[in-house]
């Protein structure tokens, strides 16, 4: 098992922490909104909870944010650093 690897938020386990590497194919509007909320490369994020495996509650900069799975799968994170 590799200690230092990259995956998207969808595949993170609960409570796992990591650093955002990049946002894949996120449309212009949502990218802007993400950035406002601190979801941008170099930010540290933590997956807090999944609801119905459809909504993902993440923590960025001490703020809890709820996103849909579709968007969670586009955010690439490096974990175990």
């Amino acid at each position: 098992m590799q200690n230092n690897h990259i995956k998207n938020i969808e595949h993170m386990t609960m409570g796992e922490e990591g650093q955002i590497i990049k946002l894949n194919h996120v449309d212009h509007h949502i990218r802007h909104r993400f950035m406002d909320l601190g979801i941008a490369p170099y930010a540290t994020i933590k997956l807090l909870k999944k609801i119905n495996n459809r909504l993902y509650i993440i923590e960025v900069d001490d703020v809890e944010i709820c996103i849909r799975r579709k968007d969670a799968s586009l955010i690439e994170v490096e974990v175990g650093k």
Partner: protein, 659 residues
């Protein structure tokens, strides 16, 4: 001194506004663009409360206001309110404001919560790093407010500068040279940075040649940044440099005390229950039923009944007596106008104020706790099946109070199509102005089941709204982006002061409306039924009102109320929904006559039709203003009318077959 109050959403901006200004807060359209900004006065000046925003460049409609105000509004300084417990994110906006290089006061709110989160903040060194005065306060405990108030009269100096990467600095210089300054008076470096970030609000102020050159510079810089692997986008690069700056500042000022973050742990525990797919949903239904019961069955009804009794037993006789003393006889036209026009029409509506006040109060409390965000999360899955998203729930529930603020609340929905779709179904949410007519008919025809019958109106309205959304999302609003990104605020006990002020404002609005439109409407109405083509009408049938109503009555026959009285009431009701009630009282004269004209089925059909047929005049105005489209507004009106017509016809026809 004139200040603009700016801050992230949900950082206690309104609380601060309320503390700094005295109770006189004026809500008004301002600046020529269609947005509401609250203006409040303090001792020596004015504070303008702008909508909460994460950044100066807008992503949603209400955020565009901030850029607009910064560029066009006359002001002496900015007050930037910041959530001290979330500095990392809040300071992104602060930097953008400081770069504008106008006198800025930074207010650090929630200083009391910082201790609970296991941190300590060195306020002085934060002020040094940002180069402007910083005021630690707690809006909740009022700590620090007096010091801030005293300092409002002092003009402050400031110095702030971030050095961006060489690529960006070069671009800033190039843009500064292009800007002629004829159009824009603001700081050029700030304008340049905002343009590099993609602020569309500023682009619209440029001349064609400026725009052309700047677009060129922006795209060249963007390519250079991507090529040099500095960041994935220009905006991202600027963001990262600011973030690095913020992190270095915070490394100096924020000290971990090691205590555990109690607030967070508590929040997670509550959330586990409130956002639970099953329990959470049950709790939501219980909360809604609780609001309903308190509004109608317990408190509201008791107070309203007492008020009604007082109107009938004391107030009306008192006025009659008074008029008689001035020589106005019992059959005199003025006596008729006052008792049957004004008191019956307006007084009858005022009776519902306690219920409406309680409804607004409860909605304000729910909003203040942060519970609505949890509801939005819980209902997102369900609402997305209807083409809406979780965020739509806030405007929809606000719609129970009044459709006008509900339509304005849709501004938080980022996707245009989803926003229009939500706007389109809001008129189906049963607003408080529809309460009087339900109350009247339900107590005449469904005495025993009054509560259930009124409740059924709310349920029916909501169902029609959801099904319409589904229908529309499959047809006109196909392919909406369907996105949902929501910040979850921590739970907070709402401050009584804020709840009181919010409720008071809504109720005052309602009374003002009753005072103006309903009073005027009731008087015009009374006049139209008093006078006909041949002077004073001897019977109501010969009045102008009857003539108008008769034209439309046949259209309503399949619905079970094809008489001119109903038609006239509904026409008048377009101006304000309360007037449906007023007209019925004025036209019929008493409840017993209504009891003879309708039967339970046609009464129910009439209630449903009143609920759905047309939004009131004020709502139509807001729809037009917010959608900026006459076509869309007309579409909402005709869609609602068709739905109402079909549904009421079905209820009456099927009802008659069954019963």
């Amino acid at each position: 001194m004139r200040y603009l109050l700016i801050g992230n959403p949900n950082v206690g901006k309104s609380s601060l506004f309320n503390l700094l200004t005295n109770s006189y807060a004026q809500v008004g359209n301002y600046g020529g663009i269609t947005v509401e900004a609250k203006m409040g006065r303090y001792k020596d000046g004015v504070i303008l409360d702008l909508p909460g925003t994460y950044s100066v460049s807008p992503t949603s409609e209400d955020e565009g206001v901030v850029t607009h105000a910064l560029l066009n509004d006359p002001y002496d300084g900015l007050i930037n309110i910041v959530d001290a417990t979330h500095l990392k994110r809040n300071l992104q906006l602060t930097i953008q404001l400081l770069e504008l290089a106008v006198p800025t006061k930074i207010v650090l709110n929630m200083m009391d919560e910082i201790e609970h989160s296991g941190m300590k903040l060195d306020v002085n060194s934060l002020g040094d790093a940002l180069g402007c005065p910083v005021y630690p306060i707690s809006a909740k405990t009022k700590k620090g407010i007096d010091e801030l108030k005293l300092d409002l009269t002092n003009q402050t100096t400031h110095h702030f500068h971030i050095n961006y990467d060489q690529v960006i600095e070069t671009a800033i210089e190039r843009i500064e040279l292009v800007l002629t300054g004829a159009l824009i008076k603001a700081n050029k470096r700030w304008i340049a940075l905002q343009l590099l970030e993609g602020n569309q609000g500023i682009q619209t102020l440029l001349s064609e040649s400026e725009k052309h050159k700047i677009t060129q510079i922006v795209s060249e810089t963007e390519q250079e940044i991507i090529a040099s692997k500095l960041a994935l986008s220009l905006k991202g690069a600027i963001f990262n440099i600011r973030r690095t700056f913020i992190e270095s500042v915070l490394a100096q000022c924020l000290i971990k005390t090691g205590a555990k973050n109690q607030t967070k742990q508590m929040n997670h525990k509550i959330d586990r229950v409130l956002t639970h797919p099953i329990f959470g949903f049950m709790i939501f239904i219980l909360v809604m039923l609780g609001v309903y019961t308190l509004t109608f069955d317990f408190l509201g009804n008791i107070i309203s009944d007492a008020f009604d009794g007082w109107m009938g037993d004391s107030f009306t006789p008192f006025i009659v007596n008074l008029l008689e003393r001035f020589g106005v006889g019992k059959d005199h036209i003025i006596m008729n106008l006052v008792t049957e026009g004004i008191i019956a029409g307006v007084g009858g509506v005022l009776v519902f104020i306690p219920q409406i006040a309680i409804l607004f109060l409860l909605l304000a409390i729910i909003e203040g706790t942060g519970y609505m965000a949890r509801v939005a999360i819980m209902l997102d899955t369900m609402l997305s099946k209807f083409g809406l998203n979780g965020k739509s729930i806030v405007p929809l529930i606000t719609g129970f109070g009044c459709n006008v603020p509900a339509i304005m609340a849709t501004r938080t929905i980022a996707d245009k199509k989803e926003r229009l779709l939500t706007m389109m179904i809001i008129p189906f949410m049963s607003c408080s102005a529809r309460i009087p007519v339900y109350g009247l008919l339900a107590s005449i025809f469904f005495e025993k089941y009054r509560g259930i019958v009124i409740l059924s109106m709310y349920v029916l309205g909501t169902l029609v709204a959801l099904l319409s959304a589904k229908l529309l999302s499959l047809s006109i609003f196909k392919n909406s982006a369907n996105q949902f990104v929501l910040e979850i605020p921590p739970y907070r006990l709402p401050a009584a002061r804020n709840i009181y002020r919010q409720t008071k404002m809504m109720v005052t609005d309602f009374i003002e409306k009753a005072g103006k439109y309903i009073l005027l409407g009731a008087m015009v109405l009374w006049f139209l039924q008093y006078v006909g083509p041949n002077g004073v009408a001897t019977t109501q049938d010969g009045s102008f009102l009857a003539l108008i109503g008769k034209g439309f009555a046949p259209l309503l026959a399949p619905l079970g109320f094809g008489n001119w009285q109903s038609a006239s009431s509904l026409i008048v009701g377009f101006f304000a929904k309360e007037l449906i009630y007023s007209s019925m009282i004025v036209i019929y004269g008493s409840e017993s006559i209504i009891g003879l004209t309708f039967d339970p089925i046609s009464a129910y059909s009439f209630m449903v039709f009143s609920l759905l047929y047309l939004p009131c005049f004020a709502t139509v105005g807001t729809l037009k203003q917010e959608s900026k489209s006459t076509k869309f507004t007309l579409m909402v009106l005709s869609f609602g009318f068709v739905v109402a017509y079909i549904l009421s016809t079905l209820i009456y026809q099927i009802g008659n077959i069954i019963f």
